[in-house]
C-alpha cells in the first residue's frame, strides 16, 4: 500500500545512554487524523523532530511524505507544515506580514501569496485585523492563524504540537473544525495534545510510555482493549503502569 503519509520502522534516538525514542514502528494514512499521545518526557517531541527532518535518528527507518528522513530532509521540510503552541508566528509583524513572510519562505510566488492571503483572511474572518500586529490578537485567533499559515504551501502533512493549550473551550472546538476540514481535503494531521477529549476526535491514537509505543488503535478500540470508559482512563492506566 502506497497511501501512507508516514511510515516508521524501529525508529530510535539515543542521547548518550538515554534512549528517548525506543524502536517505534507505525504508519499514518494520507488524510488521517493521528493523535500522538504520551506523558511529559515520554519521547513525543524527539520523535516528532525526527519526522520533521530536524533530528537525525540513531537507528531505524522512516519515510515522511515518501521521503527518507536520513537523506531527504530538505524535501520533507517542503512537504510538511508545523505549528506548536510555543513557537508559531512573529508577534511584532502584522497578520499580513506573517502570511507574506511564510509564503516567501515556502517559495510561493507573489501572485500565489496574494491569493492565499485573501482566501485565508476571508476564511478566518480576519480582514479587519490584517494590518494589526499579531501580538494584539487573542490567543485563540493566533492559534487559528498559525494553523492556517502552516497550511499555506499545501503540505501533505501537518504536525501540530499541543496546538490548543490554554485556549477557551469554544475556540478549541473551532480549531478542531479547521483540523477536520483539512483532513477532509486529504491533509494528514499528526497532533499531540494533553486534552483527552481531543484524543477522541482522532481517527487513531498512539500512546507513548518511556520512549515506546504502548498502544495504538482507534479511540473506540483502545477503550475496548483497556476496558475503559474514556480516553482519560486509558491514558491513566498506561502511563501510570510504569511508576
Amino acid at each position: 500500500m502506497n497511501n501512507y503519509s508516514i511510515v516508521t520502522k524501529d525508529l530510535t534516538k539515543r542521547f548518550g545512554s538515554f534512549t528517548a525514542t525506543d524502536a517505534i514502528t507505525f504508519e499514518v494514512g494520507q488524510g488521517e487524523i493521528f493523535g500522538f499521545l504520551g506523558a511529559n518526557g515520554a519521547g513525543k517531541t524527539t520523535a516528532m523532530r525526527m519526522l520533521c527532518g530536524l533530528l537525525k535518528p540513531s537507528s531505524g527507518e522512516a519515510k515522511v511524505a515518501g521521503y527518507d528522513i536520513y537523506t531527504q530532509t530538505e524535501q520533507i521540510k517542503k512537504r510538511i507544515g508545523y505549528m506548536s503552541q510555543k513557537f508559531s508566528l512573529y508577534e511584532d509583524l502584522t497578520v499580513k506580514e506573517n502570511i507574506r513572510f511564510y509564503g516567501g519562505i515556502y517559495g510561493l510566488s507573489n501572485q500565489q501569496i496574494k491569493e492565499k492571503t485573501h482566501a485565508l483572511l476571508d476564511r478566518l474572518q480576519l480582514e479587519k485585523e490584517a494590518r494589526q500586529l499579531v501580538s494584539s490578537l487573542p490567543l485563540g485567533w493566533k492559534q487559528k492563524l498559525s494553523f492556517s499559515i502552516a497550511l499555506l504551501h499545501d503540505p501533505s502533512i501537518v504536525f501540530l504540537d499541543e496546538p490548543t493549550g490554554g485556549v477557551d473551550p469554544i475556540t478549541r472546538r473551532q480549531f478542531w473544525d479547521l483540523i477536520y476540514e483539512s483532513a477532509d481535503k486529504g491533509v494528514t494531521i499528526f497532533v499531540t495534545t494533553h486534552y483527552m477529549d481531543e484524543a477522541e476526535y482522532c481517527n487513531r491514537i498512539s500512546i507513548m510510555v518511556d520512549g515506546k509505543i504502548k498502544a495504538l488503535d482507534t479511540p473506540a478500540g483502545l477503550k475496548k482493549q483497556f476496558n475503559a470508559e474514556s480516553m482519560n482512563d486509558v491514558f491513566l492506566q498506561l502511563a501510570r503502569a510504569k511508576s
Binding site: 473551550p169 478542531w176 477522541e200 491514558f235 502511563a239
Partner: protein
Amino acid sequence: MLPIVVEHIHKSFGDLKALHDISFTVNEGELFGLIGPDGAGKSTLFRILTTLLLADKGNATVNGLDVVKQYRTIRREVGYMPGRFSLYQDLTIEENLNFFATIFNTTVEENYDLIKDIYEQIAPFAKRPAGKLSGGMKQKLALCCALVHKPKVLFLDEPTTGVDPVSRKEFWDMLRRLKTKGIPILVSTPYMDEAILCDRVALMQKGAIMQINTPANIVAGFGMPVWAMKADNMYRLIRDLRAFEGVYSCYAFGEYLHVTVNTELENVKAYLAPLGHEGLEIKPAKPGIEDAFMQLMQEQNELA
C-alpha cells in the same frame, strides 16, 4: 475573618480591560477555583492579591489584611506559586527549599509535616538542579517552596498547565490532602474538568466573572437538555446540525457531539433523516462544567 475578600476590582493595561468588576470571597478552609482560558484575567488577579500589582479600582483583603496598605504583612503570610516556573534553576531541590525557608525566617524542619507528603516524592533527587527536573517534579518542588513557611493562604496560578493528565491527577490529589490541613487555597486552571475538584469556582472569561457557584450547582443550573449525537462522519454531522435553525448549540465532546435545541428533538431527527448519516446515534447526555462554560460564553457573545 474570611481568607480572601475581593470587592469590585478593576484593572486595565492601556486599552485592554484585564479585570472588570471582580468580586468574590473565599471561605475558611475552602478550595476555590478560578476557571478560564488564557486572557481571562486570572494571573492579573493573582498578582493583585499577592500585592505584586495595584488595582485601578476596588478593594481586596487577604487574611483580613488590605492588599495595598498591609502588603508587607501579606507577603509574609501567603504562599504563592506563579504560573511560570520561578525557582532558581541552578540551585538543587534542597537548596531551593532551604533558600525559601530562610527568606521566611524559618527552617524546612519546622514545618516539615506540611510538605512531607510532597517532598518525599522528589527527595531522591534532592541534589539535582531544579533546571534539570521534569515538569511534574518542578511543580512539586514549587509547591513545597510555596508551603515551606506554613502560609495562612495559598495561591496557585495554573499549577497544571501544560502538564500531562497523570501528573495533573497527582497534583490534585496533593491539593486534596493539603485541604485537610485547613489551608484555604485559591487555584486557577484552564482545564474545565478540574473545576469539579474545587469546592466552589468562578468561571472567568475576558476579564469578567460569568458565574460563581459550586460545580454541582453550576451543572444543575444548566437550563436545557443536552443530547449526545454521533455518526460515522462526525465532520459532516457537525456541519449539518449547525446549518439547522432548530439547533441552538453544537459542540464536539470527545466521542460525541453535545447538542442543545430550541425545538422538539423529533424535528431534529426528521431533519437529519434524509441526509443519510451512517451510524447515527442520539441519546441524552449529562451536561458538565464545560457545557455550562460554553453556554455562558455564547450568551456573553450574544449580548456583546
